[in-house]
């Protein structure tokens, strides 16, 4: 089937205005900040609903073209997972599907389409007295649904009861073109009938004896195209107090951090090095460097929050209990001098970023991130520091009730400096594989990480994943080339 025929079929489904193969349009989808080789898609289509997506996926199976789903309205895109790796790739841009389908305060849940961004939703939730457990200062144009599907780390570990949170139920079009609903959304009955029975699509598990949402999550769009999802929400606090502890000894902060998560004493909880905290709070390179110099190397941030009539009582009990822990650990909070203020910290913890805070220092960054257990975090920091000659940001985030830790290293560089860029590119993968060899768990293996991560993982995992892929996308029409599905 010719390319023209594919495009004309897509126009029949989406309408002429919603399909483009204009070179200037395609360029934006051809490359990103990663080291994945640039390649232009055949065209871009902007479907407006699940029915059209279903038709397109069926068409892809019939005409043998590939589909790359994209949800965020604007970049920068970072990981290479949406760059075509095969010919005849159609980008399915879902960013125009922007409906907030349901906001249910009583049950602390919302139902959103893929195009709803952090910039769209955070103000709406705030007005309703709700909040979402969000990644660290996410880009305003970033799709909330894509972020949850990618298992991006969130900043309140005590509200992350499972590694899949805050994602709950989904509506998905599998690679076969079949529409499916996961969790309690699976039925019986339509969503309206379920709502009449009192169901709010809160339970992500199932239907019955499997949980397909877990294989859609982390799949980089290679198992199904999600057309809406329900997302878990929390009540918005009415008062909050920010704490900032500094040390030159990472272990000292980690030990205290451990007790905060063990006893679930705080909301947001994270550790940043001085450079990353400065990047978050300041705008210009000079301001960033000045603040970084003022700060000690390691910075623990945590937020205590209370709500309603007894909010102050809650804060009092939390402060008292935390003071006892600090005393036991020989920490003295009174020694901390206030360098940054609560408002600025809360802004970066609760609000979306209009651009990307990681771009402010040098205009470019390459990120390395993986999961670690608690004890090995300092070891991975040492490996990274020994391998790196660039400005290095570090972000450590406890996840999943403190059972694992996201370790993120942001390598800041000037993309206009050819020599610097070349050197970084040559060494980037080597550094990653060194970390993998040491036992860093690259559980979200993007681009060239995938091959390396699966080589270092038991063969049975890869074999099982291929069986799953064969079930849900037997013709490999969804995002071919990612993960381990192309030998």
């Amino acid at each position: 089937m010719s390319n023209n025929s594919i495009i004309s079929n897509l126009i029949n489904i989406c309408g002429e205005k919603n399909v483009s193969n204009d070179a200037s349009v395609l360029e934006a989808y051809s490359s990103d900040m990663s080291y994945v080789e640039a390649k232009a898609p055949l065209c871009v289509a902007w479907p407006s609903n699940a029915k059209k997506i279903e038709e397109i996926v069926k068409l892809a199976n019939k005409l043998y073209f590939s589909i790359i789903p994209i949800s965020s309205s604007a970049g920068p895109r970072l990981h290479g997972d949406t760059i075509p790796q095969k010919d005849n790739c159609v980008v399915l841009d879902l960013s125009r599907m922007k409906k907030l389908l349901k906001l249910d305060k009583k049950n602390r849940v919302m139902m959103i389409e893929p195009g709803v961004t952090f910039g769209d939703i955070i103000p709406t939730l705030e007005k309703k007295g709700l909040k979402l457990n969000i990644p660290l200062h996410p880009r305003a144009s970033k799709s909330v649904l894509a972020s949850t599907l990618e298992r991006e780390p969130v900043t309140i570990p005590r509200h992350m009861w499972d590694s899949s949170d805050p994602l709950l139920c989904t509506e998905v079009i599998f690679g076969t073109g079949d529409l499916f609903r996961t969790g309690t959304a699976g039925g019986p009955g339509t969503i309206k009938q379920q709502e009449k029975a009192g169901i709010a699509q809160l339970n992500p598990m199932g239907p019955t004896q499997f949980s397909p949402y877990r294989v859609i999550q982390g799949a980089q769009g290679s198992m199904g195209v999600v057309t809406w999802a329900t997302i878990k929400l929390e009540m918005k606090p009415t008062i909050q107090k920010v704490y900032h502890l500094q040390s030159d000894d990472l272990q000292e902060l980690l030990d205290f951090h451990h007790d905060l998560i063990k006893y679930r004493l705080c909301d947001e909880l994270l550790i940043l090095n001085n450079l990353n905290l400065a990047c978050l709070l300041k705008q210009t390179p000079q301001e960033i460097n000045n603040l970084a110099k003022e700060l000690k190397k390691w910075n623990l941030i945590y937020v205590l929050a209370g709500r309603g009539k007894l909010a102050n009582d809650k804060l009092e009990y939390l402060m008292g209990d935390i003071a006892d822990i600090m005393e036991e650990q020989g920490l003295d909070p009174s020694k901390e001098k206030e360098i940054i203020n609560d408002t600025n910290i809360l802004r970066v913890l609760r609000q979306p970023d209009t651009d990307s805070w990681r771009m402010r220092l040098k205009g470019g960054h390459q990120d390395i991130f993986f999961l670690s257990n608690f004890e090995r975090i300092p070891e991975f920091v040492s490996i990274m520091e020994s391998q790196n000659s660039y400005d290095l940001g570090v972000y450590i985030q406890a996840l999943n009730l403190g059972t694992s830790h996201h370790c993120e290293f942001n390598i800041y560089y000037n993309p206009n400096n050819a020599e610097e860029s070349k050197h970084l590119k040559e060494n980037f993968l080597k550094t990653c594989t060194k970390l993998m060899d040491a036992g860093a768990f690259f559980n979200r293996p993007y681009g060239p990480w995938a091959k390396e991560a699966y080589e270092r993982h038991s063969a049975s995992t890869q074999s099982a994943l291929k069986k799953v892929k064969k079930i849900f996308d037997p013709n490999n029409v969804l995002n071919p080339g990612v993960l381990c599905f192309d030998d």
Binding site: P188, N203, Q209, L310, G320, F441, S460
Partner: protein
């Protein structure tokens, strides 16, 4: 000898002499289980408490031995059913071509990881054993409603997972981290970070990439229909109060020193509408260790050790919509704060806590709450017990489900098949500070009486059908081909996807799918539209 002599010897070589038995005394014992009679009747068989007789019972002691056994099953075309602590018919074989793999020799707590807040257990570790060890570190585990005597591994990987402490310890399925799993073809799969070749560890069970936990289980587990789990890492939680545990006396009349910073509230919300509002108010405050709605009769049962004791509690049983909350705290400050919140909610909603005023439970109740032992009180009235319903989503849906179930249950009460709880017997618990709820209807019946067993089975079927036609979600016991083929067409044909998974991972149909799904039953091929 039921197995061919050569086959027997090969199994014996795999697990050691003395660890394979196909004699009738042993195999008959493994054919018996609680509630088997009811499930037999639902399958159109005589309501006897026995399954088919397994061909043999095999006791492996390690993952590698389990693998050898499964490979031999593939070689000889014999099906395999695994069991850990073995409670319920799900542990019994569904055909006479199946062996039982009893995992009782795999009984170690492999690791207690205080820093990363998880432990790793083998199949035959009980919740009670685990809790006794992790208390030493100030930690607690989630235990299913089935009680502390059952296997946390089985609950996490293969069974259901609600528990009385679910508001603070979640659901078994969502507490899973690394997993070690012998697939039906004999391959060993290690999920997440435990599958790494370099420095494997148990702290995460997802990826790289998609999480195979989605294939492993759903709201319900696959009940060994998709392989055998030999080790699992599950999350641990802070112990809710002081770990002092001073118990004296003799069963069942133990005395117990109630630990510091623990308080029980039982309040009558009067009707379901108010109950729905109030339970959510409590849970949004994130203060409860336990937060359940129990029907009046169920409240009587959790405070009683005998039928006679239960009858003495009629005044308690008269409550229309009792909400049972336990708050527990690590420190005096935390305890005072939580009590203030409860006082505020009580005052705001004009509720009264009957505890200490109208009724004071025996102190051992608190020990049982900490040990998650309350579910076993369901057996007091008749000696036989099973739950219907089991859907999970909002409190409102759960209470709708409970209401719609009453006439069905009353019908079988009138027939004299199930014990009279006015049709209202329900336990509903919150999960994860009220982010979702599930409700089930504990039903007491006489397992030794054919009329009672048949009536209870008929009531179960009716109750499941109500879930389907009223769009309340899939109940607990939608498992096995018949139920999947009934519910699947109304639920996006999920049964066809589940069947594809079974076929892909178990090409020789070796894992006994009697309580899961079996391949090839639906001959229609392509997914129905």
């Amino acid at each position: 000898m039921v197995l061919e002599e050569d086959t027997f010897k090969e199994f014996e070589k795999a697990v050691g002499v003395g660890n394979v038995n196909d004699g009738e005394v042993i195999t008959d014992a493994y054919a018996y289980n609680w509630c088997m009679e009811m499930f037999n009747y639902m399958d159109g068989k005589e309501p006897l408490p026995y399954s088919s007789r397994p061909k043999a019972v095999i006791l492996p002691s390690s993952t590698e031995e389990v693998q050898k056994v499964v490979k031999l099953c593939n070689k000889y075309g014999i099906q395999v059913k695994a069991q850990s602590t073995g409670l319920g018919p799900w542990n019994c074989v569904s055909s006479n071509n199946s062996i039982v793999v009893d995992l009782r020799r795999m009984n170690k707590i492999v690791k207690i990881d205080e820093k990363n807040l998880y432990c790793v257990v083998e199949p035959y570790v009980s919740g009670a054993q685990l809790q006794a060890e992790i208390m030493k570190y100030g930690l607690n585990c989630h235990m299913p409603g089935a009680g502390p005597q059952v296997s946390p591994l089985a609950s996490a990987t293969s069974m259901n997972g609600p528990g009385f402490t679910s508001p603070s310890t979640g659901h078994s399925s969502r507490n899973v981290l690394g997993v070690e799993w012998v697939l039906p073809d004999g391959e060993i799969m290690r999920l997440g970070s435990w599958g790494m070749k370099n420095n494997p560890d148990w702290f995460n069970g997802d990826g790289p990439g998609p999480s195979l936990r989605g294939i492993m289980r759903g709201w319900a587990g696959a009940k060994s229909g998709l392989g055998i789990f030999t080790r699992v890492a599950v999350k641990l939680f802070p112990y809710p109060c002081s770990t002092d545990f001073e118990l004296s006396g003799h069963s069942p009349n133990y005395d117990f020193k109630i630990p510091d910073f623990m308080r029980l509230y039982v309040m009558d919300c009067k009707n379901f509408k108010r109950l729905d509002e109030i339970i959510i108010q409590v849970e949004k405050e994130e203060i409860s260790f336990m937060c359940s709605y129990l029907s009046g009769l169920a409240v009587m049962a959790i405070f009683a050790n005998s039928f006679e004791q239960m009858m003495e509690l009629m005044a308690v049983g008269g409550m229309k919509a009792p909400l049972v909350v336990i708050i527990a705290a690590r420190t005096k400050r935390e305890f005072e704060y939580k009590q203030k919140v409860m006082d505020y909610i009580l005052e705001k909603n004009k509720l009264a806590n009957i505890i200490g005023k109208q009724y004071t439970p025996y102190p051992v109740f608190y020990a049982e709450a900490l040990r998650s032992n309350l579910g076993l009180h369901g057996f007091i009235a008749t000696g036989g017990f099973q739950s219907t319903l089991g859907q999970c989503d909002t409190a409102k849906m759960c209470l709708n489900s409970a209401t719609l179930n009453v006439p069905a249950k009353q019908l079988f009460i009138k027939k004299g098949a199930v014990a009279n709880d006015f049709g209202e017997g329900v336990w509903m618990t919150s999960y994860e500070s009220g982010h979702y709820f599930h409700a089930e209807s504990p039903t007491m019946f006489d397992q030794t009486n054919k009329h009672s067993v048949k009536g209870t089975a008929q009531y179960f079927e009716r109750s499941n059908e109500i879930g389907l036609v009223k769009h309340l979600g899939a109940p607990f016991f939608v498992e096995g081909d018949r139920w999947h083929d009934m519910f699947g067409p109304h639920m996006h044909n999920y049964h066809l996807w589940l069947r594809k998974i079974k076929e892909a991972f178990d090409p020789n149909n070796i894992a006994d799918g009697g309580f899961y799904i079996t391949p090839g039953k639906d001959k229609k091929g392509a997914l129905k539209k």
